[in-house]
Symmetry: C2
Amino acid sequence: MIELRHLKYFVAVAKELSIGRAAVALNISQPPLTRQIQQLEEDLGAVLFVRSVKGVELTDAGRTLYEEARNILSLVDLASERTRRAAQGRIGRLDVGIFGSGMYDIIPRVLRKFRAAFPEVKIVLHPMTKDAQVEALRQRRINVGFNRLVPRYPDIASRVVMWERLYIVVPESDPLAGRAEVSIAELVDSPFVLFPKVARPNFNDFVASLCQRHGFVPHIAQEVGEATTGVALVASGFGVCIVPESVKYFRADGVVYLPMTESPPTMLDVTCLYCLEDNSPILAEFLGVLEEFRRENDVVGDPHVL
Amino acid sequence: MIELRHLKYFVAVAKELSIGRAAVALNISQPPLTRQIQQLEEDLGAVLFVRSVKGVELTDAGRTLYEEARNILSLVDLASERTRRAAQGRIGRLDVGIFGSGMYDIIPRVLRKFRAAFPEVKIVLHPMTKDAQVEALRQRRINVGFNRLVPRYPDIASRVVMWERLYIVVPESDPLAGRAEVSIAELVDSPFVLFPKVARPNFNDFVASLCQRHGFVPHIAQEVGEATTGVALVASGFGVCIVPESVKYFRADGVVYLPMTESPPTMLDVTCLYCLEDNSPILAEFLGVLEEFRRENDVVGDPHVL
DNA sequence: GCGGGGCGATACTCTATCGGTATGAATCCA
DNA sequence: TGGATTCATACCGATAGAGTATCGCCCCGC
């Protein structure tokens, strides 16, 4: 069977046009090289060199193989290198579970940072709910998932990516619209636009517990699936809405974003989930980038557990 | 050192996701396969599989190598195949020495026929004189040369490609212009446009010997390098010109091509030269095509030797 | 809870083959 | 004609690839 050794030897002989000189270059003696070349010719069923008393020269078949062999040998080198880099997590792909409002600001910032450090890693985004992320993490369909208000699982680790302040969204026509900031207590009589209970613990429970802390139960006017839809409904006068800060990047006519007062302010997390048993080197590198991101943004603490 | 065996084994394991099953597919036993994979991982410095109790699965590095290895293995197969075909003369290049008036008809017909049979052989044309062709053939810069009136050489073989009748070119105003055919004897008083003595024996000598046979010495009005230039000079009234039939394909205003009568008609050869010591398989295939061309056109005999 | 089955890893042996040394055969040149 | 050069051949020792036997591990079922 043809081996890379044969090709390497052949290329050396083709370069030197002499078996003896090629043997020197390869640091072997001449007879074994002669034999390897004979073997290669035998295997291919083609004469590669015409032997003369002053060396060898390539036949048409030899010239053809020369081009091919050099290409193959360089591809093998390249493959080794790429494999090594893949083992170090420098190339490959990172499958990321994402959710709506995280993509307005926080998640893109983290992913940009990672892409800058590992440009050869392909980042594949998968919008999915909290439960779907946990399931996908376990099955390695994704390597990391981003979400809020994540529960604890024995096999899933979590790191807070960012703490966000909460904002109250009111229509421009609302009496509160001119205020610099608003307390949630002032929303006692306002109808709320909230997000559906697709996964517990969820943002609904979070808002409900906030209201409860201020002594009232929110009046739910409408449930929506997306933060942006909620803001649009606020603009249409369906009620008020509480959103994390990054939703502010969604500019909508007819609404005002007011920071919610509390001391200390209530913060909502964006948390990164990953499977403890996933030892993909790319994941490891990503977690390194994430830690750096946390340091840069002074993010401390563990996720809220309701 | 990494060998193709390693890659082949690795691909088999990656396909089966099981060392045991891959060993069966490879017709070897399981332990050596295990060792080869370990060796590959060692050489690359990368873990390619995560072993589990129910088989193995690819790591990121393994997935990377899988793509590369399959590509490399298929390239090796391709290279073998191409080399074999090159050995049979089915791919490669044919360097061809050509001359002016041969390219009007005869040489293109032969080369088209060869190209149809061996489309992967690249045909490279080199316009050159007779002597340059012989020199180039000896140095293998060309594999075949086309020419006329070739001398004999000990190391150069020749096969006539086509015999051509001679035509007399006269201006439209010439008294002979209306005739169906003309004997060279009727040109006793006409000035001749002839071709330079770049290589002996040449067309000049050929025409001179023809005139001598009819009892006169031609009056040379002008010497030119190209048959088409000669025809153009005839059109301008410089004299008459004798050309082989294929020059008729060069249509020029103001001239008439008249077949030269003689019985039997004097024929001029287009001959293919090649070096007896050139054992390129492509040359061999070309000579096969050439023989077929000769049969199709009922070409017999050896070249004229003046 | 224990034993059987399945999978990969290890230990050991055998042998094919790779590489080394010595030498031969052919050719060229002085 | 003899030395030098180049590739080919003969033979030998060592490496390592492939085989057999077995271990260790884990899952699964009784």
